[in-house]
Subunit: 190 residues, 3 copies
């Protein structure tokens, strides 16, 4: 028994010490997400004639724009507030399992590009709580990542990345995003 303990100590310590020196206290290595989820959300932009169905509206625009038609070129400067249904599949008319609520604005003159600040809000039997997102969305790229900067309820203190893919785009009135949520930092409150 003594020699086993001794061997363990002698063999394992240098190894573990080395790993300490390799990882500084602020360096994190993630093997994969601690939680993954996939959703769709659906945005119908108010164009002056679709008030009833619209889930979003332009609330800010540059001097050369207005609040019923996207500004030209590339919607630059248009700021949109949205309250979009989240669904499990790609059907707008499927039962919504939550809401995507927040804003986006177009922030590039020479190409379509936007910046998002919004939340996924859940209050169903699977999930209760919110995930908060912020970041750059270069929407002409097939997929792009934005930051998940925090969460509440079931997603208390969560951080991660969401991979966005535009799943449908119909003129300037409807689009549908496929969202792959990948949390790399999960918390439990004991």
């Amino acid at each position: 028994m003594y020699s086993f303990n001794s061997l363990f100590t002698i063999l394992c310590f240098p190894f573990l010490l080395l790993s300490i020196f390799a990882h500084e206290s602020y360096t994190h290595r993630a093997r994969g997400p601690c939680k993954e989820m996939v959703f769709y959300f659906h945005d119908i932009i108010y164009n002056g004639e679709n008030y009833k169905n619209a889930t979003s509206a332009i609330v800010g625009a540059p001097e050369w724009g207005n609040r019923t038609i996207m500004s030209s070129p590339n919607n630059f400067g248009d700021l949109i507030v949205f309250d979009d249904p989240i669904t499990i599949d790609n059907n707008l008319h499927s039962p919504s399992i939550g809401r995507a609520q927040g804003m986006y604005f177009y922030d590039q003159k020479d190409i379509f590009s936007s910046w998002l600040g919004f939340s996924f809000v859940f209050n169903n039997s699977d999930y209760k709580g919110s995930l908060n997102f912020a970041g750059h969305d270069p929407l002409m790229n097939k997929t792009r990542d934005i930051s998940i900067i925090g969460g509440t309820g079931d997603f208390f203190m969560a951080r991660g990345i969401a991979t966005l893919r535009t799943d449908a785009f119909e003129g300037s009135v409807y689009f549908r995003l496929h969202v792959h949520v990948k949390l790399y930092e999960c918390w439990k409150l004991l």
Copy 2:
């Protein structure tokens, strides 16, 4: 050899513990906050006639709204920039110990709900620095949580949750929020 082994064990324990810590980088268990604070802040919305007292103003609105009256229904699409005094008690006229500065916008058509992006800014003998907040605020709920996504100065790199409670609400001109700040991630710069 025995005493060498003993010494080695005693000296290396803390390192071993630390190395474990570095490996499980994305899983966190919190027993409670590393820092808690309670404040009130006071918002007086510009309505076209109260410029001198107003601490906030509508700066964006949907096509059917304007910048002196909240849009109907449920203020949807109104974006407000604010510079509100923070007090220790619920009295608007108490000395302010900091400012809550940022924006909120109403993001739901069928109920009052908002999204916040703002900072608490302190420069007094107790606290110097800022805390940055972002997230969904379903303001009809008695209490609701938003994310604390970062901080500077005394709150360097802080993360946590703030529990909001509407402490008073007078028409569409004045409201007062009770804010319970709970930081679960605190940092020290050595």
Copy 3:
């Protein structure tokens, strides 16, 4: 005495590991940044006559303001969307190595102060990915810190602080910021 040491090792290991894990999970001590970078970015605000050169535009303003002249006093309530070139040196005409894209708004009536939500977007041989920023910017201070709340690509899950310094300010049309990025939380996806 040997058996005491042996027992201590065997019994206390799991105990101490667990307690560290539960208690210290939210306390971080940083010796210094895991990554530092220095950049400049350049903002040319649309004033009604410089459409071609402008990199930003007012898209929201209080009732007493408009979208071609900053509101008075202290630009309070003006919300600006920007798409600014990032350069290595302080020359606007140097090759840009990325874009700073997002928004800022002025949020104080009695002094110049703003709030920023934006990204640094890189797609060059050195860096691919984005850094997302949010926070209070008291721009009359010589230097001030804002939060880096997340990142993607080469900056996957990064957090930190950026120290801003106004390097030039020409009327209300051009300013140049010196940005010292200091990441204190770096991640690698294995």
